[in-house]
């Protein structure tokens, strides 16, 4: 494809079905890039505070806050984005009385498709264009919303023939469509629904947007516990006779241990199947990065750092 390596791009969108660890991967990626000496802006679109929680800092705001060496965080706010946009570009007298205009705009954003999306995508593209940071990592909306987000400039182009918004969409489209600058990372887990949604999303992104899918991250891969030969041994140990010996030696309590190991094996097996489905369904040449299940106590900074290490091993 000839695109730049992911770590050298300026704008990285991270998306995925709810519950697959999208935010943890976005945080880990931002952390890993900052560790490489790049200046990174992490941008949270949903504004639920999950990205800040991954770094164990207070909920971020629209104005980026520095939270660690080389790393700043912001939360998207379409009204604030509009305010900033009007201030920078419009220079019209109404700016002093932004309240009613913002309200009117909020209303219009509901009526006119793409307006909210363009304010969101416009802000992150602007940060990229102005080179305020080496990389902007966007904790983007979940799979259901990302396509309308990324295709907002085209939608606007289709609907709006003239006007200020129209004049703004060209440079945004240019940044979004440039695989040396922009990449989409789709996070999934090796489970049935996330895999089928990922395959659908890949097709939709390729059909409806110009954004390059840089990589798929398969999160929560379970370790392979037993080789096929060892699994046969495990089955024998789990037999009535084997269990009796274990109970005798351990003073009871063998059953829960064996059950836990069996659960781990069954889960691993079903996840391997789903991973195969994913592999065979993806377009050739699309990289796949595997991140193991962490078995960690929290999903805070420690988990973020562990993910950063795994991503670094795969991407650097």
């Amino acid at each position: 494809m000839g695109a730049a390596p992911l770590v050298e791009r300026n704008l990285i969108f991270v998306t995925g079905k709810g519950g697959v660890g999208k935010t943890t991967v976005a945080a880990g990626l931002a952390q890993m890039l900052a560790d490489q000496g790049r200046t990174v802006l992490g941008c949270e679109i949903d504004a639920k505070g999950d990205l800040s929680a991954a770094f164990e800092v207070p909920p971020s705001e629209f104005v980026p806050q520095r939270v660690a060496d080389g790393l700043s965080l912001m939360a998207m706010d379409t009204e604030a984005s509009l305010r900033e946009y009007l201030k920078l570009h419009l220079r019209i007298p109404i700016v002093g009385r932004i309240g009613p205009v913002a309200k009117a705009f909020d209303f219009l954003a509901t009526a006119a498709p793409g307006v909210k999306e363009i304010l969101t995508i416009g802000k992150v593209c602007w940060e990229v264009r102005e080179r305020h940071y080496d990389t902007v990592v966007v904790d983007a909306p979940a799979t259901g919303h990302i396509v309308s987000q990324l295709s907002a400039p085209q939608v606007i182009n289709d609907l709006v023939k003239v006007g200020l918004i129209r004049s703004q969409t060209d440079w945004m489209s240019q940044i979004l469509g440039d695989p040396d600058q922009t990449g989409l990372v789709i996070v999934t887990t090796p489970e049935e629904m996330p895999v089928s949604e990922t395959l659908e999303l890949v097709a939709a992104v390729e059909e409806k947007t110009d954004v390059d899918i840089a990589t798929i991250v398969v999160n929560r891969l379970l370790p392979e516990r037993f080789s096929p030969r060892d699994e046969a041994v495990f089955d024998k140990i789990g037999s009535k006779k084997g269990r009796a010996i274990l109970d005798d030696e351990l003073g009871g309590g063998a059953l829960p241990l064996l059950e836990a190991a069996r659960l781990a094996t069954v889960l691993r097996r079903s996840r391997t199947q789903h991973l195969d489905t994913l592999r065979s369904g993806l377009p050739a040449g699309l990289p796949l990065i595997l991140v193991p299940e962490l078995f960690s106590r929290t999903d805070g900074l420690r988990a973020t750092r562990q993910v950063a290490v795994h991503l670094g091993e795969e991407l650097l």
């Binding site: 509901t110 979940a142 919303h145 295709s151 609907l159 659960l263 929290t298």
Partner: protein
Amino acid sequence: MPGTSPIENLLASREILVTCGPGGVGKTTTAAALGALAASRLGGRVLVLTVDPARRLADALGLKGIGNEVTEVPAAVFAEAGAPLVGSLSAAMLDTKKSWDDLIARHAPDEETRDRILANPLYQSLTGRFIQSHDYIAMERLYELHATGEWDLIVVDTPPTRNALDFLDAPNRMADFFSSRLLRWLIAPARSGLVNFASKPFTQIADRILGTEFLGDISEFFISMQSMYGGFIERANAVARLMADDRTSFLVVSSSEAVPLREAEFFAEQLAQRDLDLGAVILNKVLPESLTDPAAARSAAALEEGAGRLAGRLATDLKLDEQAVERVLATVAESYTDFAVVAHREASARERLPTQGAPLLTVQRMEGDVADLTGLLEIGRALLAPSP
């Protein structure tokens, strides 16, 4: 009442159950499981309304597919699963675009208005591409199905919204939207050819940003829609009333992981604030209790320590390779310890979850994917546990 099952009580007394919660936690499966449970246990005509086009759900219910039209699950599917139907179970999926078109057709004063709206590029973009319209139409379709009076119980799952509660606000937002002064400003110039004083700053800015032509499109669209405003507002208010009605209960569904739990907590709070009834909080994919059993943890430690000695005896008695046995035992201990960390983390998060007084129900992690009615009914039975 100790000993009664909160879920059985809800299934037997409500007309609408709405499952809501973060994405990826099994909302759709839970809704289907509850519908199947009600139909096989309590009787009545039960409908599962889903927004998730999951192929698997259709398969599990023995249907070729689930579409916008209501389809009844064949009784044979229940008989095969060993749970004969007492009532009936049907399923329908929400097709946003089609539901919008139906809504327009129903409210349009004449065919010409209907066709003009359906052909408007703004309308097509609004209904086809943008998720916001999903929220409203889901509630609208629910209202319509309820109003037919054909169903004793409708179990509905909600779209995974950006803002967890968008779907609850959608009817009110839609009503606000159509009665808004701003909307009048927007369409006033196109109607009268004049810009009135109050709307002038707005029109100017909108014009600068969006361009006159697009504003014209918007105006035309809303003028076409205007004949239906009254109907829309009335309907949106009726939908909001139905949600707040005591025939309706909400079920917050989550997993035990930190991020979904935070969202579930937020959901429960918001429902309480809006005076909407939270029937239960349901946590899916819960790990087995034995993983937090201190005795089992001690056994795991003993196994790790004594793997060598144990391997000798097991290998001799079971005629196995000693090295392989030792390797397997060490892995068993390690696997237990790994999962125990997760189980403890999740158990502790569950204990701290405020549920606004609603019962907390758990469903154990299933070993495979839920692929058939037996699987759905298994989940249903897990939910039947009496309140502690």
